[in-house]
């Protein structure tokens, strides 16, 4: 298969459960039962080389858990993750993961928590280089670190400072420099701009786009902000309670949303153009992922739900340009 066409990353029925049961003794004496939180419950998608794939959804939908599964911070409970066709998710994958681990990096949401406050910036940025290439002459290392800092819009001299001397936006630049230091091909960015002011967000999003062009990076971008997702993505997956409900190219998803939940999210967008559209408030809230509703987990909030939706979990099917998991769309009811 053509290298450019084959997906860089494939995720196949990925599952991650967390055991949130009370401790064993409490269960024995108080009769509590095991409680499993299905954070990610059968998610499949593929990311092509050089594209930006975004996962969007509200708090608790499992998008950050997917991000952490991708870079190996969590182990999947089930399903596969394949990097260039190589299995890196499950038990068999752990040897393979070592091979590819260095080709992926992650940028975290909180630039205050993700940088070691006791390290100088030059050491933070040099760490992935040391891990990857072992000991290098100090001058070579300094040159590499200086180059990376300049690449993300900081000065080489900033390497001498500590993280607390920087603003939130500058810290996120340091995080990006650190991520780039490992020469990754695949970057997972978990809400990289959510903690930043809009003008700083614009700087970081522009920087990420420039770097993608320059190095041919592939991004998995996690965000709750639909406008940001619209701006950065090539394709988008919408998550709800641990499952993907719709995957489509960005224009198709925003131009013609199919799943009722996607429509709900788009209707709830603030109207900055002041067209007088007025957003439609939606009734209800996201239910608890510990005890999700039966059938289609969205059915209690869905205006199109019927008996089938309450009983049977919808499967992903191709619908026009999109992949949708919805009985009503499949049956042509909406």
């Amino acid at each position: 298969m053509n290298r450019a066409e084959a997906p860089l990353i494939e995720v196949d029925r990925l599952v991650r459960h967390f055991d949130v049961s009370p401790p064993l003794l409490n269960r024995l004496f108080e009769g509590g039962r095991r409680r499993i939180l299905k954070a990610v419950d059968g998610v499949s998608f593929a990311i092509r080389r050089g594209e930006t794939f975004s996962l969007v959804g509200e708090s608790g939908c499992g998008k950050s858990t997917v991000a952490r599964l991708m870079v190996g911070l969590y182990r999947p409970t089930g399903g596969d993750i394949r990097f260039e066709g190589m299995e890196i998710g499950g038990r068999e994958g752990s040897a393979n993961r070592k091979l590819v681990q260095r080709r992926m990096q992650m940028i975290f949401q909180d630039p205050y928590a993700s940088l070691n406050p006791r390290w100088r910036v030059r050491d933070i940025v040099a760490e992935p280089i040391r891990a990857r290439e072992g000991r290098l002459p100090a001058a070579v290392l300094a040159e590499r670190v200086g180059g990376l800092l300049r690449q993300v819009g900081l000065a080489s001299a900033d390497g001498e400072k500590y993280p607390h001397e920087f603003s939130g936006g500058q810290r996120q630049r340091i995080s990006i420099a650190r991520a780039l230091a490992g020469k990754p091909e695949f970057l997972v960015a978990d809400e990289p701009t959510s903690a930043l002011d809009v003008s700083v967000q614009a700087q970081i999003l522009n920087l990420m786009r420039d770097l993608q062009r320059q190095f041919g990076l592939t991004y998995l971008f996690i965000s709750h902000n639909l406008a940001v997702v619209y701006h950065v993505s090539d394709r988008v997956g919408v998550m709800y309670l641990g499952q993907l409900v719709e995957v489509a190219a960005v224009k198709a998803l925003f131009g013609r949303p199919r799943h009722p939940y996607t429509r709900l999210l788009l209707d709830a967008l603030p109207d900055l153009e002041m067209s007088g559209r007025g957003r439609t408030p939606v009734a209800g809230e996201v239910p608890s992922p510990i005890d999700p509703p039966s059938g289609c987990t969205f059915h209690p909030r869905c205006p199109h739900a019927d008996a089938r939706c309450r009983g049977e979990r919808p499967r992903f099917h191709v619908h026009g340009e999109a992949m949708v998991a919805c009985h009503a769309v499949e049956e042509g009811r909406i």
């Binding site: 509200e58 708090s59 614009a202 522009n206 900055l272 002041m274 939606v282």
Partner: protein, 336 residues
């Protein structure tokens, strides 16, 4: 019901407000000469990035500035009465009764040890001459008004038994408990998901319309301002740089900072390869540049911007603090 206090008196008038923080290395000015008015029933949005002074302006009005921050200049007038210099116990009676407050994190406004019913009735009885039963009736009515389902059962529950969106509804009910004339809402929807955000904004708008309550809505989210506010004030480095009807400011921003801010917001349907970018960051309080605080980041800055601080002046329907709008070109020799 909206009762005009005095014929031409705005509900709230803030004049030349100044908030300072004394530090070992001198005094930091966090709010620097801010003036605005809010009419009865009006929603004034105050927008700006972190450190612009928008939350401190709100805190100064309700008398909840965290020490050592204090008001060092100007005045705050509520319905003709000056309130910035009131003693603590008098301000306490105004807070809640005449000015309500909604904060970003509903958990900081709610006491985790009391049922929400107790917190509501306590607030109601502090400010209104009602007995226990009548206060509970009113609490129930408030919970229903803010859209809490099964209010009869929920009233006896504790804050942790509510979801984030429901908690924020309870906080709104608390803020409305004594029918204040003004509500200061500081990032009321920032901690909430988009679908819940829309619910809370619709609720706030409806309640204010029904009760004629004025709102000062402090947020960094231009989208929330655009669909909620009547007028908007844009703050930068402790000062208002532009203020006017929300439609004007959003669609025809005049101040270069507002223009940059609007351009940097990604929008669904706006196809741009790169977002407009304002380089640099807002200055720290100990390093506010001479002249216009925005001049080091401003593409259009010229000589006078680096030496003279621009004041707000009327430009069509809005007021802008920018030398680009000086008419005629101000002579550089004028004392600052």
């Amino acid at each position: 019901m909206a009762v005009p206090a005095l014929a031409n008196e705005p509900l709230l008038r803030v004049e030349d407000l100044r908030v300072e923080f004394p530090t070992r290395r001198g005094r930091l000015t966090a709010v620097d000469g801010v003036s605005f008015e809010i009419a009865p029933g009006e929603v004034l949005g105050v927008v700006g990035e972190s450190g612009a002074g928008k939350s401190l302006t709100g805190a100064a009005i309700i008398g909840l500035l965290e020490p050592p921050g204090k008001i060092t200049g100007g005045q705050i007038v509520l319905e003709g009465q000056r309130i910035d210099n009131l003693p603590y116990h008098e301000m306490r009676q105004i807070r809640g009764r005449r000015i309500g407050a909604i904060f970003q994190d509903p958990l900081t406004s709610l006491n985790p040890l009391y049922t929400i019913g107790r917190q509501l009735t306590e607030t109601i009885r502090t400010h209104l001459p009602l007995g226990e039963t009548a206060a509970r009736e009113r609490a129930l009515a408030l919970l229903r008004a803010v859209g809490i389902p099964a209010a009869e059962q929920r009233i006896d529950q504790y804050p942790h038994q509510f979801s984030g969106g429901m908690r924020q509804r309870v906080v709104i009910a608390l803020a409305l408990a004594a029918e204040p004339r003004l509500i200061i809402a500081d990032e009321p929807t920032t901690a909430l998901d988009v679908s819940i955000q829309a619910q809370i904004i619709a609720l706030l708008k409806r309640l204010c319309r029904e009760h004629g309550t004025a709102v000062m809505l402090v947020t960094h989210d231009m989208g929330v301002i655009a669909e909620t506010a009547d007028r908007v004030a844009v703050m930068y480095a402790g000062r208002i740089v532009e203020i006017g009807p929300v439609r004007e400011v959003v669609r025809h921003a005049r101040h270069p900072y507002t223009v940059g801010l609007m351009g940097s917001i990604p929008l669904v349907g706006r196809d741009v390869a790169r977002l407009a970018q304002i380089d640099g960051a807002m200055p720290r309080l100990n390093a506010i540049p001479l002249g216009c605080a925005f001049n080091p980041r401003c593409q259009k800055a010229f000589d006078i911007c680096r030496t003279q601080r621009p004041d707000l002046r009327r430009v069509g329907p809005v007021a802008v603090a920018c030398h680009l709008f000086d008419m005629p070109p101000a002579d550089a020799g004028r004392p600052p």
